[in-house]
């Protein structure tokens, strides 16, 4: 087990070093930051001073090493646009995105698995057919359209839920949360559904097809022959076997939820990282872009590492071969 985890950790570090290189190369290739930072009226001295201050006069490998070193400590430099520490801006924005992502992930996983199991068990029922057809809509409609439709229905027509922003937030030790106020909770509902809908339908369809496959296996027949009840067969024997491949996809999709929050955040004017990133692109705010890129890749890598470990926990066959 330990060599297996060490191997995965090593691979993860390799991935991060490579994305680090890509993030770093943005500084070198996407224009000269000095031009952006200093206005028209500048002296050569200003330029030289700033260049030295930012370390841009050093050879590229040294700069890269310095960048990696600082990135590892969470230091991505100063935002060109806001003139503040990037880490500070990110910390300020992160809670909004993480809360949104967590809620939509829970929505996607819980609903996806429940509906997937339901449509697999009652695969010939009317409800199952209806859900399957409806799920096609979830897969085929683009996220922004779903967001706009939800806003139109629940905010404009019915007036039940807010159409933008986080509502009132409460600050607890540097973390702002919308879970504690009613307007905060209300504001979360629509964006969370919008963000999670695609993942939910994907998980549902995957769970359904895997489950149908598992239900055809001999050990399920044998479980029936042993006289076990349908409930035990479906939820104990079949579901656990279904989860093995599903977990990988869920892991990848959780990363995607955070990464693709950009569109949802734009539609709902959600003050999170996605919106920050969109604004950073508009103003070529490279430190913010680099930090965002690094953060997302760390998140993907960590989630996948956890998934691999979880995999070994569920499937004893992997545990043995991994030893």
């Amino acid at each position: 087990m330990l060599p297996f985890i060490l191997k995965r950790v090593f691979q993860s570090i390799l991935v991060l070093v490579i994305t680090g290189a890509i993030a770093f190369s943005m500084f070198t290739f996407v224009g000269d930051p000095i031009d952006n930072m200093l206005g028209q009226e500048r002296t050569m001295e200003d330029v030289e001073r700033l260049r030295a201050q930012l370390g841009l006069d050093k050879p590229i490998p040294v700069q890269y090493f310095k960048f990696l070193n600082e990135a590892a400590q969470g230091n991505f430099g100063v935002s060109y646009r806001q003139g503040r520490e990037v880490s500070e801006i990110i910390m300020e924005r992160a809670p909004a995105t993480l809360e949104l992502a967590a809620l939509s992930a829970i929505f996607a996983v819980v609903m996806g698995i429940a509906l997937g199991v339901f449509t697999a068990i009652r695969r010939d029922g009317f409800a199952a057919h209806f859900i399957m057809s409806a799920s096609l809509i979830g897969v085929s409609l683009p996220t922004f359209l779903i967001g706009i439709l939800l806003i139109y229905l629940f905010s404009v027509e019915l007036g039940w839920l807010p159409s933008f922003g986080r509502g009132e937030v409460v600050e607890i030790g540097g973390w702002t949360t919308g879970f504690l106020t009613e307007s905060g909770r209300k504001a979360l509902i629509l964006p969370a559904i919008t963000l999670g809908l695609y993942q939910m339908t994907l998980i549902m369809r995957l769970v359904r097809s895997e489950m149908l496959e598992v239900l055809r296996q001999d050990y399920i027949r044998f479980a029936r022959a042993r006289g076990l009840s349908e409930r035990v067969i479906n939820f104990r024997h079949a579901l656990k076997n279904t989860m093995v491949p599903v977990i990988t996809v869920i892991g990848l999709q959780l990363g995607a939820i955070i990464a693709f929050a950009i569109i949802t955040e734009t539609v709902f004017q959600w003050p999170g990282l996605g919106l920050l990133f969109i604004n950073a692109i508009q103003f070529v705010d490279i430190p913010v872009m680099a930090a965002y890129l690094m953060m997302i890749s760390v998140m993907f890598v960590v989630i996948n590492l956890l998934v691999d470990i979880l995999y070994a926990f569920i499937d004893p066959r992997l545990r043995v071969s991994a030893k």
Binding site: P3, R221, F222, A225, S229, K240
Partner: protein, 563 residues
């Protein structure tokens, strides 16, 4: 006379299809008495398993019991509700399936699966259930039950898993066990052990056993009563020794005569002739278009010299800490021109690994394979491509060795295209010719593999293997997934091909009677080593090694019974 534990009376099962009602089981009746083992025999599709499934109430939709009655200990059970049937399953009627590798849930320990079943049926505490589970594991002769209890199915061998399955079937002391081909997936020595266990349990616990099988040897060895089924109907019913020695029905007679005999060598395998299904097979036509292979330079087409294969057992970062499992250990033999060389042994003895190394599907870890004097292990890529054209393989499982997404035509044409043997415009003609020759119609070319039965699929594999006009054919258990009547047809095709086309063959099997009929010389493998090589006749008459004698001794004894 005691009362039967289970009575089946005029049972008919029907499946509604687009072309009307199909009745896979018609008017079947038989009784099981306590402690009795009743064999149900017949070819696949005869309705034997379907009857068993009807008994335990596990017919797959849309099959249903149309008429007839099933009585268990004086209670009618065929008309019970779903929930009542479930309460009987596992508690009153246990079930053993064919493939022990797939009947256990891979993600739960043996112990969890046993305790779960025991608690369900006997309503006891977890500790009591565990005690009972350990006792059951001990009862089915699983060594060290305490350790085994917490292990997962993949940590057990096939035979051991079947023992666990038997333990599961015995959880609540059922009165009847339905064993559906319980030993078909196991090799001879394990089969004998598992059958002995079933016999022992039957006489000890007075459980009645329905043993569904297509193997006449198993019937002869194990059962007291036998029911012979043919296309859904019972054709003969009676005490096993009487049915086998003096069969009354024509089908039974031809079924018995089709069983390969270990003690005499016949020119052709007798086929099950009942029902007029013997296919005409014009081997001479194929021989006309066939370039007779040139004789090899030395008279020895294949020379295997000390080949060894090691598999990684435990990986580690440091090479010195890795451990290896030696699957094939320094094996040497020659195959002469036009000879059929048999390789026998238990599963895991390395037979298939040898075949794969000769076929260059696995690299050798030591030793040499020479084909017509050229060293295959040192060939260039070009040489290997040319070599592969001259050898072809036929695998055991006709279900997984054909690509399900390709039409038969493309499957058979693939080697022709790959080795650029024919210009594209002549390929269809050649494919039709090949299909004709293995007894399939031209219409088969446009179908997909799933539209064929196991025997027909194996014919497709043979047609594919013949496409390149190989000099050497490797057959890895070509008929062990097929039942007796189909086996005879396939083996006859291979025998004819070998004789008419001058093919050299490596024939791997664990079925000794088949080996006796097919092979000129036989090698016996045990734990990766080749322990004996003899002429077939000598080997069967006076084996040199004790192990070979043991193997021969384990052969099903149908032949001794019926003479």
């Amino acid at each position: 006379m005691t009362e039967p534990v289970l009575s089946i009376r005029n049972l008919t099962v029907e499946i509604p299809t687009r072309r009307g009602l199909f009745k896979p089981v018609q008017n079947v009746s038989y009784d099981i008495y306590p402690g009795e083992i009743r064999g149900v025999v017949g070819e696949s599709g005869a309705g034997k398993s379907m009857t068993g499934n009807a008994v335990i109430g596990l017919l797959d939709d849309p099959a249903r019991v149309a008429s007839g009655e099933i009585w268990l200990k004086g209670r009618r059970i065929d008309n019970l509700s779903r929930e009542e049937k479930r309460a009987i399953r596992g508690r009153e009627i246990g079930m053993i399936f064919q493939d022990p590798l797939t009947s256990l849930n891979p993600l739960f320990t043996i112990g969890e699966q046993l305790v779960e079943t025991i608690q369900l049926h006997l309503k006891v505490s977890a500790t009591e259930a565990k005690e009972r589970a350990l006792a059951l594991l001990d009862r089915v002769s699983i060594p060290d039950p305490k350790t085994r209890f917490d292990q997962y199915p993949h940590q057990f061998s096939g035979g051991m898993r079947q023992r666990v399955v038997i333990a599961l079937a015995l959880c609540s002391e059922p009165s009847v066990i339905v064993a559906d081909e319980p030993t078909t997936a196991l090799d001879v020595s394990i089969q004998a052990q598992v059958l002995d266990l079933i016999k022992e349990l039957a006489s000890e616990t007075q459980v009645g056993v329905i043993l569904v099988t297509h193997d006449m040897g198993v019937i002869a060895d194990t059962t007291e009563q036998v029911t012979v089924m043919y296309s859904g109907e019972v054709v003969e019913n009676g005490p096993t020794d009487k049915v086998l020695s003096a069969p009354e029905h024509e089908y039974t007679k031809s079924l018995i005569s089709a069983v390969p005999r270990p003690q005499v060598k016949l020119h052709r395998f007798p086929q099950v002739s009942y029902g007029g299904r013997e296919t005409t097979f014009k081997i001479e036509d194929l021989a006309r278009n066939w370039h007779k292979p040139e004789p090899s330079k030395s008279g020895k087409l294949v020379e295997v010299n000390g080949i060894t294969k090691k598999f990684l057992e435990k990986s580690a970062i440091l090479p010195s800490r890795r451990t290896y499992f030696t699957a094939v250990d320094n094996v040497s033999f020659d195959i002469k021109d036009g000879e059929v060389f048999g390789l026998v042994g238990e599963s895991g003895s390395g037979k298939s690994t040898v075949a794969r190394m000769i076929g260059t599907l696995l690299p050798v870890d030591g030793g040499h394979v020479k084909f017509d004097g050229d060293d295959v292990t040192e060939m260039s890529a070009q040489g290997i491509a040319n070599y592969r054209k001259q050898i072809q393989m036929i695998f055991q499982d006709p279900f997984s060795s054909l690509n399900p997404r390709m039409k038969v035509e493309s499957i058979v044409a693939e080697p022709l295209l790959h080795h650029k043997i024919l210009p594209p415009d002549q390929i269809t003609g050649r494919v039709h010719e090949l299909l004709d020759r293995v007894g399939l119609t031209r219409a088969a070319a446009t179908k997909y593999p799933h539209e064929f039965s196991g025997g027909q699929r194996q014919r497709i594999s043979i047609a594919r293997a013949l496409a390149t006009q190989p000099r050497f054919l490797i057959c890895d258990e070509p008929t062990s997934a097929l039942d007796v009547s189909i086996q005879a047809q396939i083996l006859n095709i291979l025998k004819d091909l070998q004789e008419h086309l001058g093919l050299t063959m490596l024939f791997i099997s664990h079925d000794l009677p088949v080996v006796r009929q097919m092979c000129d010389r036989v090698g016996v493998m045990k734990q990766g080593q080749l322990i004996e090589v003899q002429d077939t006749e000598t080997l069967f008459a006076k084996p040199e090694q004790e192990y070979t004698a043991q193997l021969l001794d384990l052969m099903p004894r149908l032949a001794q019974l019926s003479g």
